[in-house]
């Protein structure tokens, strides 16, 4: 070995999302996460009584998106695989749930346990598709992976039109969902029931993800992201780890898509276009790559921004044609600009800024105390 080679220090990767030492906190990770989720669930139930039905529906949509963004942030932020195909995976979950619910309805089966069964089937179906894509993805790097997943995102919605005997073309399928159980009372708002359903499913998915991130598997995800060769030398099976990350991410994306279909009570290819995939990526990056809280900010943004621009265009009195153009495209433009600015100026995203702010405040506070 030449001396010059040894003299060059290895390139330091700046410590970023999810790399902080984890042994500061004591106690069982599972119990702590369970407590957080329980608190979040109680908060959600309280909020569902406090706000109007439309806000309930919006919160339920946030929860559905959160499933998908949380999965994507694990894949892209923690495992370093970029997927532009998560919209297509959501479509897989959505269509699976539509098939199951329709099959149950056709056979005249009713019962509260049918919907969880359909959601489970949706997750399994997406896992199967995700495994196929993941095996291919594990052999690809950087722009190649992005290209393949981009092709998946473009092709899958087109399939729904190609095989319109099965998927009913552009119109899509309806998803029959049962009303809330009678035991909740006759005047129980439907939107509150939707929020309960999606909230419960999302919290469960988040609990599993949070535990996965802090487990041995989460550490191998990060090891593979940071340096494949070093990970391999440490005895980690790189390809297997990447496929596992993809499958986990696909499962949550499928659940998210299925929840969206249940919320909308219909599913059509237009809802799962390439733009949705880009939106998800955007939400994850803007929220802060590799953190579940970042995924939460991203999901909130996905629902709130179109709403904000809608009220903005209503405030500016525009001609109907112009207003229609603005309404569809203004959120896209804002997302695009925000994404570019965030990538260049604040790669940690919203959550990165928040934690930096929090740490600064904490440092000042402890300095004052001493």
């Amino acid at each position: 070995m030449s001396a010059t080679r040894a003299a060059v220090p290895p390139k330091q990767r700046p410590a970023d999302a999810g790399d902080r030492p984890v042994d500061r906190r004591r106690g069982s990770t599972l119990l702590r996460h369970l407590a957080i989720m329980l608190a979040a669930g109680l908060l959600l139930v309280g909020v569902s009584y406090a706000v109007e039905p439309f806000r309930n529906f919006q919160l339920a949509t946030v929860a559905a998106y959160l499933c998908a963004t949380a999965g994507l942030t694990v894949l892209t932020g923690l495992n370093g695989q970029l997927s532009l195909g998560h919209g297509a995976l959501m479509a897989t979950g959505a269509y699976t749930v539509a098939f199951c619910q329709n099959a149950f309805a056709d056979r005249g089966m009713t019962g509260g346990w049918l919907l969880p069964l359909s959601l489970g089937a949706a997750v399994l179906g997406t896992v199967a598709v995700g495994a196929v894509v993941g095996v291919a993805a594990a052999r690809l790097r950087g722009p190649y992976l992005a290209g393949v997943t981009l092709a998946v995102a473009v092709v899958v919605p087109a399939l729904a039109v190609t095989f319109d005997g099965v998927f009913n073309g552009e119109q899509g399928l309806s998803v029959p969902v049962e009303p809330p159980p009678v035991s909740l009372g006759p005047y129980f708002p439907y939107e509150r029931w939707q929020l309960w359903l999606t909230g419960a499913a999302t919290l469960l998915a988040l609990l599993l993800l949070a535990n996965l991130i802090r487990s041995r598997y989460g550490r191998t995800f990060r090891a593979v992201r940071d340096d494949e060769v070093a990970a391999r030398l440490a005895g980690i099976h790189v390809a297997r780890t990447q496929v596992l990350a993809f499958v986990v991410s696909a499962a949550t994306a499928g659940l998210g898509g299925a929840l969206l279909a249940v919320l909308a009570q219909s599913v059509s290819p237009g809802a799962f276009s390439l733009t949705l995939s880009l939106f998800l990526l955007m939400a994850v990056v803007i929220g802060g790559l590799g953190r579940l809280t970042g995924a939460l900010w991203g999901a909130v943004l996905l629902v709130a921004l179109p709403d904000l621009t809608h009220s903005l265009t209503e405030m500016l009195t525009l001609s109907p044609a112009v207003a229609q153009r603005m309404e569809g495209n203004l959120p896209l433009a804002i997302f695009g600009i925000t994404l570019i600015v965030v990538m260049i100026a604040a790669p940690g995203g919203v959550q990165g800024l928040l934690s930096r702010l929090g740490r600064a405040l904490l440092a000042r506070w402890s300095a004052r105390r001493s």
Partner: protein
């Protein structure tokens, strides 16, 4: 047999456009190690500018020239204003920024022009001439072949025979050494972006009249096809991009002719996956060792 000849010619004509678009991708990849996912959106933006100019002046050719100039300027602008500031340590970052550009450009186009299909005129007839009872080439096909031929030969000439081309290759191959030897590396990078974007705009002008028309998303599938073409040839090889483009064009033409046009996106995906899984470096890749 008639049908086969027709499909082959049609496929080569499409393939020539894919080749040009793939060439644009390869140019940027070689210069900056970035796959420009915003290429399609940038090309559509240039085509919209051409549409406006043509509609105002009534001259197709003025619009054509304006499209290429707009493409050149847009490429330089994207490099100078955005890509230069992106942290390139992770290959994810430029890709994500390019996707942000896609959203931004498509949204702005949608706001200005609305998102309905606008008919795009072709400068020559698209109905085929018959030679000896066989319908072969349309004048438009000839125009496409001639234009792409000029572009390919022109690019090859620039890179192989001119001082600027030598500097561009040097700047891409060894930036530090080139800088020490007095090459304006940043300027060469901008020039590479401008050239690639200009070629992309030209390809968009050629392909849009053969499809549904002008639309902010008109180049989405063309981009995927061209990316496939570039991968088939190996992202590093300009001749590979040309061959890959023709291969993809022929394949798509046969699939849509014999199996149904709905299946072409699926065929692209299958080809892309097959090439990447069997020969990830592309058909023309030199044997490479992985850097540890």
């Amino acid at each position: 047999m008639d049908r086969f000849v027709f499909l082959t010619i049609d496929g080569l004509s499409r393939g020539a456009v894919y080749a040009a678009f793939a060439l644009a991708l390869v140019l940027i990849w070689r210069a900056a190690r970035v796959v420009n996912f915003a290429q399609g959106a940038m090309a559509v933006a240039a085509a919209y500018v051409a549409y406006t100019v043509s509609a105002q002046t009534g001259s197709y050719w003025l619009g054509f020239v304006v499209a290429i100039v707009a493409g050149l300027l847009l490429g330089a602008l994207v490099d100078r204003a955005v890509m230069r500031y992106v942290d390139h340590t992770s290959p994810l970052n430029p890709v994500i920024v390019a996707l942000g550009l896609v959203l931004l450009i498509q949204a702005v186009l949608g706001m200005v022009y609305g998102s309905e299909f606008r008919p795009a005129e072709a400068p020559f007839s698209r109905s085929a001439l018959t030679v000896g009872g066989l319908a072969v080439l349309s004048p438009y096909d000839l125009f496409v072949f001639a234009t792409i031929g000029v572009v390919v030969v022109g690019l090859a000439w620039i890179f192989a025979r001119t001082a600027v081309g030598l500097r561009m290759r040097a700047a891409a191959f060894a930036p530090e050494v080139s800088r020490l030897l007095g090459v304006n590396v940043g300027g060469m990078l901008t020039l590479g972006w401008a050239l690639a974007s200009g070629v992309g705009a030209l390809a968009a002008m050629l392909v849009i009249p053969t499809e549904l028309g002008l639309h902010p998303h008109a180049m989405d599938l063309v981009f995927v096809s061209a990316f496939t073409a570039a991968v088939v040839g190996g992202l590093d090889s300009p001749p590979g991009a040309v061959v890959g483009g023709l291969v993809v064009g022929l394949l798509l033409s046969y699939v849509s002719g014999y199996a149904g046009s709905d299946l072409t996106p699926l065929a692209v995906l299958v080809l892309l996956l097959a090439v990447l899984l069997v020969r990830p470096g592309g058909l023309f890749a030199p044997v490479a060792a992985r850097r540890v």
